[in-house]
Amino acid sequence: MLLSQVVNGLTQGSLYALVAIGFVIIFGTMNLVTFAHGEVYMIGAFVGYLALGVYHLAWPVALASGMAAAWVLGSVIEKTAFRPLRATGHMPPLLITIGLSIILKDLAVVVFGAENRPVPSVYGTTVQVAGIPVSVLQLVILGLAGALVVALRVLLHSTKIGRAMRATAQDHEAAYAMGVNVNRVFNIAFALASALGGAAGVMVGIYYNTVYPAMGGTAGLKGFAACIFGGLTSIPGAILGGLIIGVVENLTIQFVASGYRDVVAFAVMVLILLLRPQGLLGKRLRMV
């Protein structure tokens, strides 16, 4: 029972982590908090739903199209909403992201309707792992989330654009002086973060069998919480933060009551931040 709840929590937590990593990449490179990330995730989820539920494509295709759509959306948002305002300080871009989140959500209501849309099941079976029942889908999601994190690490550490991103994250003016095309790096960073959000959206849609325009709200909040919890600029921290929130939520359901799930999860987070204001893995690591 305990182990089942841990598996439930890890699955959910890995999805929070993907959203949280997006916040980290955006904050790490651009020094910007975005409130539209949850809605980008929702748009990714809807594209995944269209691929899977309407056009009956295979789920990897749905995942890829959700990520691609979120990538394009992220790239467009960065170019049209952030680039012109880069010199204006923190507030205008922050307000723009709030506006964007409202626009995207209401647009989805207009286009798709406010109601829940059914996403077909993928891998409906359960297997026994070490004596506990685990659904195959949970394993697939955990595996995919892990694979995406590994791919991200490879991208950041073993490619030229990855090196440019890390350089920009450390000091974008110095990077610019060294010949890094900072505009391009910002754009790719934002698009990459959005694509990870889109991937989380598609997987959440498949995992819970439903997508709806308001789904970005809680996801954005939990992902942002996981990101701060982990230390704001640390990718491993965001992963750890997401997983801890997910597991604490499910253990609360098991040992306290289902109504207290968010109360306890956020209380644990507040407590740790009081003791360690820089977050779990803040300061020590940066974008690594």
Partner: protein, 399 residues
């Protein structure tokens, strides 16, 4: 109507000869007149064949906004009802004409509409609104003016008793909870029961009434868990409930969450439990989202389109022919509301007080949502049909 039309036309002609701000003013005035004309033409849709005065009934419903789906169903069902009433000679030889207002499910708008309706001398009674909240906001205005406020859907137990002019025909939770408990404990013989409910006013009242009745019938309620309206993850709470080994899991929730609960239950491989929920689950959406996982789920409905009773079949066939869609509970209660008013006015005439008194006397009116008999609180105790989902469709459970 000819006068204003001519004047508008001459204005339009004059506009060609002036320019500048003068012209702007004229354009605006012209626009205002066109709108006014349009409003007059649109609201006065009296069937041309009638020579006598029509009877006007107000309809306050959310035609736009979050609950637009329901308001539009109200309007469709009522249009169909009025069409049939007028085709068969109207009420005391007079046709019924609806005056429709959009409340957007906003209590403020519902109250404003109530002001408008009660100050309109033509309107003899009102149908609406959709939500209990909007109904309660408008209630004092209808109460002061002395006009019948007949809500098709307000299920708040405090609504109808709140004013002698207010009537509710959808039934309240006080009837449904015990009905579902009898279904679970006495019909299906389940003794170990767990409850997973939505944590809002409705969910709490719903689960309390069910649990109280189930305990009185000798069942053992072994676990009660809740979730919030925005939750989509139920794997944790289902894993916990599964550990308690209930025979039946009762889920007072709405169809979206009920579908997700069943999907996730199925994926966890938890199959040795009977699922049941109140009539709020009865929707094609439950089947659409829930798929195979909702097979074997027990629920209830006051209105069931496959019910063989002739009045139900007449309504369902007529609605399908006119709108190419099967009516649901919301359409059915609205249809009942307008027919009930017509039935009452055929006896009482159109005096406001006479309509109210006659309505309060209604006993065993054969509606498509079951027999309507008002209690002294002016709400009704609904009859429900026992349903079970078999092969991906709702079927009557008659044992």
């Amino acid at each position: 109507m000819l006068g204003p039309t001519l004047r508008t036309m001459t204005r339009a002609a004059r506009m060609a000869t002036v320019s500048g701000p003068e012209r702007m003013k004229l354009v605006l005035r012209l626009l205002a007149q066109v709108l006014l004309l349009a409003a007059v033409v649109l609201t006065a849709r009296v069937p041309p064949v009638w020579s006598v005065d029509p009877i006007h009934i107000g309809l306050s419903a959310p035609l736009t906004g979050n609950f637009a789906e329901y308001g539009q169903l109200f309007q469709k069902a009522i249009d169909l009802g009025v069409e049939w009433i007028n085709a068969s000679g109207g009420v005391q030889g007079r046709p019924i004409v609806m005056i429709v207002g959009d409340s957007r499910a906003d209590p403020k708008e519902a109250a404003a509409l109530a002001q408008k309706f009660t100050s309109d001398k033509r309107i003899v009674a009102e149908i609406g609104d959709f939500s209990s909240t909007a109904c309660l906001a408008a209630q004092p205005i209808y109460d002061r003016a002395g006009m019948v406020q007949l809500s098709p859907t307000a299920s708040h137990p405090g609504f109808a008793p709140g004013s002698p002019w207010s009537f509710g025909i959808v039934g309240t939770q006080a009837g449904e909870g015990p009905f579902m408990a009898r279904y679970a404990v006495q019909k299906l013989g389940k003794k170990r029961i767990a409850v997973l409910h939505i944590n809002n006013d409705w969910g709490i009242v719903s689960k309390d009434l069910f649990i109280k009745a189930a305990r009185e019938m000798g069942a053992d309620v072994i676990a009660v868990e809740s979730y919030f309206e925005t939750d989509t993850d139920f794997t944790g709470v289902l894993t916990k409930l599964r550990g308690q080994k209930p025979e039946l899991l009762y889920i007072p929730s709405f169809y979206n969450e009920a579908a997700l609960i069943n999907k996730q239950r199925e994926r966890l491989g938890w199959t040795d439990v009977t699922m049941m929920g109140p009539g709020s689950l009865y929707s094609p959406k439950l089947l659409e989202i829930g798929g195979d996982s909702v097979n074997g789920l027990y629920t209830s409905a006051a209105f069931f389109p496959k019910d063989p009773q002739p009045e139900v079949q007449k309504f369902v066939k007529g609605f399908e022919a006119k709108y190419k869609a099967t009516p649901n509970m919301f359409a059915a209660v609205a249809y009942d509301a307008v027919n009930l008013l017509a039935f009452v006015m055929a006896k009482s005439g159109t005096d406001h007080k006479a309509i109210r008194d006659e309505l309060a006397k209604v006993r065993d009116y054969p509606g498509v949502t079951g027999k309507i008999t008002f209690t002294e609180r002016r709400d009704v105790v609904k009859e429900y049909r026992q349903l079970v989902i078999r092969n991906g469709d709702f079927t009557l459970y008659d044992k």
